[in-house]
Symmetry: C2
Subunit: 405 residues, 2 copies
């Protein structure tokens, strides 16, 4: 196969990852919020490493760092993101960017390396990659605020020295496609004893807020029979979801109640209001639609049977994104060469920049195992040999795709 003669430098890759971890070290993880001084330091360091690798680096008006590689022939864009969740892991995002840089060095030509800004959503959601594909307006930037502190995106961009810089946009025809490597963030590979996951699709995430309106009352003097307890209504709806969803979901569907609020939330007061954040994820649009129809029916039934009013608000519905079949096949072949029998195809339950890029060009992803399935926590980790193996597979696949012209 093409690309099989490409060999990455595992020590150089690990040294770069260790160095990147020093920007905002927290225990064995990292605290590197988007546009913080330490985040900007890490972006400038990344640009230096790109220059050292023979790439032409540039930072744009939203913080995206792009390193353009030499070569006039077919070209791939590789990367991920470098900022982190608060007090989170050292590999989430960073791994994919350092893979991209190492692959550029190993393959030698035809590779551009990118670190998308704010995939982690300190100021939005996939801010950098969405900006690149043309889905972030100036008005969106005007309106965006930090979700953890009281700062506007405009203020943060000015402090970071990015105010007034132009934003990079997708150049039609420049790339054959986009490749992103990432830690799995789940335990499927580890549980199966596998080393490489070739992502088939990135799941759709459908998110809802359910509000329950009852009547606030005294928890001692209000008879059970006449209560309109919004908290009870919430828990009953959840019980109905728990009974229904397993009968209509697909094998890898997940659903989550992440947040519950009772109003006023005092021991001796029957709650008059309640709110639930609910979401489900699946790779199949038909499954998502079926789950939504069931949710709507359960909410309507709860609302009609009373005693509380139940209102369903749709917050977002992302479309599942299929990964490119040609790229997947190249990843399969490279995985079979360097990790024979130790790879599988699998959907991504988490969102990634690749889903934004997939809107404008072929895209694919490779996963490496997460120890204990842990992510978004400082203890997140992957064995060094798994890190090196994943990059070797990525390099071979990239070379293979480029060789096919």
């Amino acid at each position: 196969m093409s690309g099989s003669n490409i060999s990455i430098d595992g020590k150089r890759l690990l040294a770069d990852l260790y160095r990147l971890r020093e920007f905002g070290t927290y225990k064995t993880g990292v605290h590197r919020p988007t546009f913080s001084p330490v985040d900007m330091d890490s972006r400038r360091w990344l640009m230096e490493r790109m220059r050292d690798a023979g790439l032409e680096p540039e930072i744009d008006g939203i913080g995206n760092v792009l390193g353009r590689g030499a070569g006039d022939g077919p070209r791939l864009l590789l990367g991920s993101h470098t900022e982190t969740q608060p007090h989170a892991g050292w590999l989430d995002g960073a791994l994919g960017v350092m893979y991209a840089l190492e692959v550029a060095r190993a393959v030698g030509r035809g590779i551009d390396v990118v670190a998308w800004a704010d995939e982690e959503g300190h100021y939005g959601s996939f801010l950098g990659s969405r900006s690149y594909v043309g889905d972030v307006s100036e008005a969106d930037i005007d309106a965006a605020r930090n979700r953890h502190e009281n700062k506007t995106l405009r203020e943060a961009l000015a402090e970071a020295g990015l105010a007034g810089k132009p934003r990079l946009h997708f150049e039609p025809g420049r790339y054959k496609g986009f490749l992103e490597a990432h830690i799995e963030q789940g335990d499927a590979l580890e549980a199966a004893g596998l080393k490489i996951g070739v992502v088939t699709s990135i799941v759709g995430i459908w998110q809802y807020r359910v509000n329950f309106e009852g009547v606030q009352n005294h928890a001692g003097t209000t008879r059970m029979a006449i209560r309109k307890d919004a908290g009870v209504a919430l828990m009953r709806l959840f019980a109905a979801i728990e009974a229904k969803f397993p009968t209509i979901c697909a094998e890898k569907t997940v659903w989550t109640v992440g947040k519950i609020l009772l109003d006023p939330g005092a021991a001796s007061i029957v709650p008059g209001g309640a709110e639930m954040m609910f979401q489900f994820r699946d790779a199949d649009p038909a499954v998502l639609a079926r789950l939504e129809a069931a949710l709507q029916a359960l909410v309507a039934e709860a609302d009609a049977s009373g005693p509380c009013k139940v209102i369903l608000h749709t917050l977002s519905r992302s479309t599942p994104k299929m990964m490119d079949e040609g790229f997947r096949a190249a990843l399969d072949r490279a995985a079979e060469r360097f990790a024979p029998g130790l790879h599988q195809r699998m959907p991504s339950g988490a969102g990634h920049d690749a889903q934004q890029l997939a809107r404008v060009m072929p895209a694919a992803m490779l996963f490496v195992p997460s120890i204990g399935g842990i992510s978004h926590h400082w203890s997140e980790n992957t064995a060094d040999e798994d890190i090196v193996l994943g990059c070797q597979v990525m390099a071979a696949a990239a070379a293979d795709i480029l060789a096919r012209g």
Copy 2:
């Protein structure tokens, strides 16, 4: 019957209640937190009204206002409290104190009038009446803080000019007993078209905190089968309580989940921790014990079956307090005379100062209807004619009890 020739002055009673509402008026209700300037103004006004009525007023070191009436013979203590919950109703507590004053004026002798401090628990729980019965130590006062703002009870007492004043204590032999009138705070009287409730007992309130310990994880990458979702564990325990409690409760048992917290409480994170505030109330100690045993069994079952750890913390267990049968009979007779066929016996689902007094002397309570069952809200109200009727019944019952020697 004795006492039937006693007649109260309804206009005077209502005028006093209207005047008391002016201390901290909020919409049609009142905001009069314990020891606030407006609360202390109202206590001084009350002492003046006591003096006008021929009583000898005194305020003690915890804010209790006691007006001693003339007469050497048998003596009753009547009253309730005058401070309010934040932005709450004008009658809760105030009604019972103004009834006491009007009854003292109407009966003429043998009545002491009291306004217990902080029944509403800004600094504790039944602070004034518990102090009176000997259940509040100086160390308790040292430790108490305001539950809404950052102020110690000692600071509040000093600002109110009460620091160093002695506290009043129960004088054995002085009273035949204690009578308290109160709004019902529920809708039982109104729903039945009745005017007077004669309280049989004040329910016991047993309160718990239930903690659920799971594992926080990514809501996209963590398969349903391996989740340890603390929020799901909470809702499943509640479903088990909902299935069990109706089969073992008594007719008037109530139970409430007043507060739920999920940790960290974010849309895309499987909650690793959860907490539920749970309480139940009943007038029968055997019922309370049966419910607790069932709760313990359900928690143990949930904990044993996993996947989350479930821990039950008992916060408080108050003993139901029976009201005095002789006093109840006197209230029945007076109610039958002034509201024939329009009264009933009923338990109190809320706590009242009378339950503290019942620890040291016979005690009884009378309820008047709450419009719509609303209380602890500024719109709380009772029809003027119901207010006047209740006071007439109270006066007749008090005179009857005193006449029986």
